[in-house]
């Protein structure tokens, strides 16, 4: 099967979007969605490693009960930096702005997104936001955690709260612009014959994601603006000392930030829904259910913000309502897991790197989802919330889940994006190391949380040390796992073998155009005549 990759079509395209202009200007002023996607890829990779470096220092500090880093303040700034950078400058944008930007027009059979210049503007806004965030970091950092709970953030923090908030505010505009661009492109630019039910699930999931982004981001923007006003002008919004309500902030913040979890994970679902059928040579099991599960998640995700506040001082009745709604939002996610496994049933399964990452995703996401049930169960949440149990839970969903999906997608479409193949064996090794390192890092934290270790502690009781050391050791392996792809994917850019148009024998319009695609994507507008995932099942692969 590996041989197939090169024998099908060795002819490397002479003209592609990569060779269409080589000056710096041709990149920085491009309106080509594929080039913008690469600009984004470079940007978010940079932020991923900044956030990752902070994570490494956090785990390093926790090796000793009394803490290794000199001051609690430094530690607080580190985990705040880690949270802010990872959430807003990596997890939320990652899949949509890189893979999404590259693939939406290709999967739609279109020449570009609906608003190419708006797309470029989104990237500039994102970079501007990143620069402001980096300024806040260099100028002294922020120590409130990524959640900015008031009145700590509005009056008591010594950190650069306003600069950080402004950075997130600007990044929000970038999100909204990207979301609008996707929604309109999907409505207006589908190739002839591509009905909504003939769209790949990846497009559906980006559609659902974009709807959340467009509806929820303004709420976050206004909340952060109010926070900045309170801090600068002393207007009493959130601080009770001047007539505000400290819980109001949490309601507004989580009204955005819970749906934002699904902004992170839904595109991941989309990626996995492309990869599992491709490497099982089988159509996606229960296509319509998977599609509508995405829509259901997008809708219900707006109704569950209160489950972050079961011990915050809200009423008993609101806790009951938010608990049951939280169980509801888990149902569509469970449906998807069953459907992916159903897709593998009677398939013709190949274990290339993207598939290994995807299988890792299913495993880690399932653990993340199941532990979500613990914190949705009210009485259990009272004990577990604000401890390392929650830290482990959301890292399983957001890092184990979303980052695995991002890596799966990056490996899957890498030949299409760059026209090069990476060394397959290293891809598989890295997938395995990441899976093992991840579990070693975060599984001990479930127990740590049950035993009562609070999160965001710079130092801790000596009885928690063994599990912390275990977790830090796992993080070391995980770090190696994350550095490997940087190395071999970078290597492949220069020395990788040329990729054929469709190295994986996958379906979908993006595989019908050369790798890397020409600037105009398709030489003639493709016409779609059937549903997606029409895998011939086994025959073609069998005869290799």
């Amino acid at each position: 099967m590996k041989g197939a990759a090169v024998t099908v079509g060795i002819a490397a395209p002479q003209e592609s979007y990569l060779t269409d202009g080589t000056t710096l200007k041709s990149w920085l002023f491009t309106t080509d969605h594929k080039r913008i996607s690469l600009l984004y890829l470079a940007t978010i990779t940079f932020f991923f490693f900044i956030g990752g470096f902070a994570a490494a220092l956090i785990r390093y500090n926790l090796i000793l009960p009394e803490g290794v880093l000199d001051s609690p303040e430094t530690y607080n700034k580190l985990f705040s930096l880690h949270g802010v950078v990872m959430v807003w400058f990596f997890l939320v944008p990652a899949v949509p702005v890189t893979l999404g930007n590259f693939l939406v027009p290709l999967m739609l059979g279109a020449r570009d997104l609906a608003f190419p210049r708006l797309n470029l503007l989104s990237w500039y806004l994102f970079v501007l936001a990143g620069l402001v965030a980096l300024y806040a970091l260099v100028a002294g950092g922020v120590d409130t955690g990524w959640t900015f709970y008031t009145p700590l953030s509005s009056f008591y923090s010594n950190g650069h709260v306003v600069a950080t908030v402004v950075a997130i505010f600007i990044a929000g505009f970038s999100s909204i612009a990207t979301g609008l661009n996707f929604i309109i492109s999907i409505h207006k630019l589908r190739a002839p014959g591509m009905t909504f039910y003939r769209m790949p699930v990846f497009l559906w999931s980006l559609y659902a994601t974009s709807v959340i982004l467009v509806l929820a981001t303004p709420v976050l923007a206004m909340t952060l603006l109010l926070l900045a006003f309170e801090r600068i002008f002393r207007i009493g919004v959130f601080d009770p000392a001047i007539g505000g309500d400290p819980l109001l902030f949490q309601h507004l913040f989580w009204f955005y930030s819970h749906p934002a979890v699904y902004v992170m994970i839904l595109p991941g679902f989309g990626v996995i829904s492309e990869i599992i059928p491709a490497f099982s040579s089988k159509q996606l099991f229960g296509y319509k259910f998977v599609v509508w599960a995405s829509i259901a998640i997008a809708v219900i995700s707006f109704l569950v913000w209160g489950h972050h506040m079961f011990v915050a001082g809200t009423s008993l009745y609101s806790a009951l309502v938010f608990s049951i709604l939280s169980y509801m939002v888990a149902v569509p996610s469970a449906i998807k897991v069953f459907n992916w496994i159903g897709t593998m049933h009677k398939g013709w399964i190949r274990f290339d790197a993207p598939m290994l990452y995807a299988i890792g995703f299913i495993g880690l996401f399932t653990i993340g989802g199941l532990t979500g049930l613990f914190v949705a169960a009210l009485a259990a949440d009272v004990h577990l919330t604000q401890t390392y149990f929650v830290v482990a839970h959301f890292h399983y969903v957001m890092v184990g889940g979303m980052v695995s999906a991002f890596f799966a997608g990056l490996h899957f479409w890498w030949p299409k994006i760059t026209g090069r193949l990476y060394p397959e064996i290293w891809g598989r090794v890295a997938a395995l190391i990441i899976f093992i390192g991840f579990n070693l890092t975060f599984a001990p934290q479930f127990l740590l949380g049950y035993l009562g270790m609070p999160r965001r502690y710079h130092s801790y009781a000596a009885e928690f040390q063994v599990l912390n050391v275990l977790s830090s050791a796992g993080a070391t392996i995980l770090a190696v796992g994350y550095l490997l792809p940087l190395a071999y994917l970078g290597w492949s850019l220069f020395y990788g073998r040329r990729a054929a148009a469709n190295p994986w024998r996958a379906t979908g319009l993006e595989w019908t155009t050369p790798s890397p695609p020409p600037t105009e994507n398709f030489s003639t507008t493709p016409v779609v005549t059937g549903p997606p995932y029409q895998y011939p099942c086994t025959e073609a692969v069998r005869n290799e």
């Binding site: 400290p246 009485a379 502690y457 009885e463």
Partner: protein
Amino acid sequence: MNFTLPQATVDAREVDALILALTLASLAVLALVFGLMARYMVKYRAGSPIDRGKPPQKTWRLEISWTVATLAAFFGLFIWGADLYVRLFQPPANALQIYVVGKQWMWKVEHPGGQREINTLHIPIRQPVQLVMTSEDVIHDFSVPAFRIKHDVLPGRYETLWFTVEMAGVYHLFCTQLCGEGHASMIGQVVAMEPEEYERWLGGGAKGETFVEAGADVFRRHGCAGCHGDQGAGGIGPALAGLYGAQVKLTDGIVKADEAYLRDCIMTPQKRRVAGYPEIMPSFAGQIDEEHLLKLIAYIKSLK
């Protein structure tokens, strides 16, 4: 290294039972998911000569059945968790009330008899204890893992937390809501003692004024009697004697006079106006700090 956590309360055992059930259910689902994946990965690997037959086309019956099964299981877990939660936060009427004020970065505790302590809470066992908690600055969170309970402590509001401890011992007390630089040092201990021992502890050491006496002082100092009468008998303002726990008729509804209501009346009197009285009560916000306020309210509660 100890991988168990003491179950110092009845609730702790019940919460543990719930967590155990969740763990078992999760392990079962994990076994199913990982088991099926592993089985398919081996059985249907590319190159395996097994006959795959025709893949099933109709999916909706399978989809409906696993959706319904998931929903039913979730509903069961919801009921279990919710029932226990309601009990965790419904204090019995006879609970011993102890006051806790969170402050960057310490826990200040005052017993009804006026005994004060910092970062330590002495309590009797086998007796319901209710904490009345507030914060002087940011949001804190009072958490005792051995009791399986925690609750945020908010500035400008009273939150309560109750428990009955069964095992004498010394337990960790943590602040679990990020509250600034000293967050990790805002820890302490709960010392649970036999009731007789607790009585002895209360009697020992320097004993100040009782809470109620101190509250009467605050009442006098701020001239409350001018409107509400000596001993809260009534006058220009509503009578305070017997007010605590009663239903109060407001201009727009009825409210039960609990600590939070009394606090509102003193700090933001315009917020909930009592029917039949002129709007002349001034706000005491900024004039009485949280500790004195707690005492003042304890005094008002004592007026029968």
